[in-house]
Symmetry: none
């Protein structure tokens, strides 16, 4: 069943959402604040997150950014504010949709279907395997000899960009702007440091076979 994580401190709204969603065949997990939401998302990864911006413990955009640090689950944001600044902020933080209260439950359900449809399309190539290691893009995990390897958020993002473009040359600027942001296009130092860490964790032999460097241009992932 499709699991939906609902993050809201409004007990009444939470109840209404739970009943409606369950009636439409979704599996509902609830969290009243940002911390418990992040915890719940980690312990049982949902297919979608419905997030109220007005949380008691932390800023909504902060929750989105933290979640995006290790998950690519679709996020639908709820808010009572009509101002567009909040919307822009939330969407740029990594949210996928934004709904202003009050809203119709049928609209919520329709947007939810649209988001799930999209993420289902993007799903297929979720598992990439090489002789040395296996990358699970959906679960954000890397396995090597059955053991799962611990990667830091930055290491993961970098590996993800490379793995999503198999055999393709990824430019240094492309990597830097996707992992650190467009403003870091000159910091090729970072690439060398993190590539070394990735290789130390993933490449069994001394000479890299899957994470190849193309001198002067960028890097390339070979399955």
């Amino acid at each position: 069943m499709t699991a939906v994580l609902v993050v809201d401190d409004d007990t009444y709204l939470l109840r209404a959402l739970r009943i409606t969603l369950q009636a439409h065949g979704y599996d509902v997990v609830a969290a009243p604040d940002g911390r418990s939401a992040l915890l719940a998302a980690q312990q049982q990864p949902p297919a979608l997150v419905i997030l109220d911006l007005g949380l008691p413990d932390m800023d909504g955009s902060a929750v989105i950014r933290k979640l995006r640090g290790w998950s690519s689950v679709p996020i639908l944001v709820l808010s009572a504010r009509h101002g567009s600044e909040d919307k822009v902020q939330a969407l740029d933080a990594g949210a996928d949709d934004y709904l202003t209260k009050p809203f119709g439950l049928d609209e919520l359900l329709a947007r939810l279907r649209a988001l799930l449809r999209r993420s289902a399309e993007a799903e297929p190539p979720a598992l990439i395997t090489t002789e040395a290691f296996t990358v699970d893009l959906g679960k954000r995990r890397v396995l090597r000899d059955g053991q799962d390897i611990r990667l830091t958020p930055t290491e993961w993002k970098m590996l993800e960009v490379l793995v999503r473009n198999p055999e393709k040359l990824v430019t240094q600027q492309q990597l830097l702007s996707e992992v650190w942001g467009p403003a870091y296009a000159k910091e090729t130092n970072y690439l060398r440091v993190y590539m070394a860490q990735l290789r130390r964790k993933l490449e069994p032999e001394a000479t890299p076979r899957h994470l190849i460097t193309e001198a002067g241009i960028g890097y390339r992932f070979l399955p």
Copy 2:
């Protein structure tokens, strides 16, 4: 550049959108009705579609369904109606987002960014094949007997210029200015050195069959 197809019969709004989008680095294609929109989407596939539901010739949801018949391009719907039925209908027809007029341009841009972020798509293959080797322009790669050949940045640029002009004569000045810059138009030495390296890496036989020199003029690539 990112191409956006804007479908709207409101001339004023169209102008505003075109100016704003172009100012943010998007390439705008406009269509005033459903028929021309579908045609335009087919002829030059955009990275995203902004669709006004109130079209003169056909129902908005019908346009979405037709488009979805052969394309998975993200669709952002605009509408003046506040009723939720239209939203549900459009979203379930295959739209990805829905914005009610009047809306803020910064919110539109933010939603647009969120949609484009989601659709990380693959580019066309762009393969050029000869008897001896295969050039993959998209992945920036050269294959020979299944093995991939390692080229330096300069070698690659030179090969790329030649391969993008198959069977055509590329003059020395053209090559030099595209690879090294216009200031190097006299350094024909470079061409000889790098052409020799390319041939050693790509041509199986002693006499070149694909990288031909036209004495006194330039070089030519034969597939």
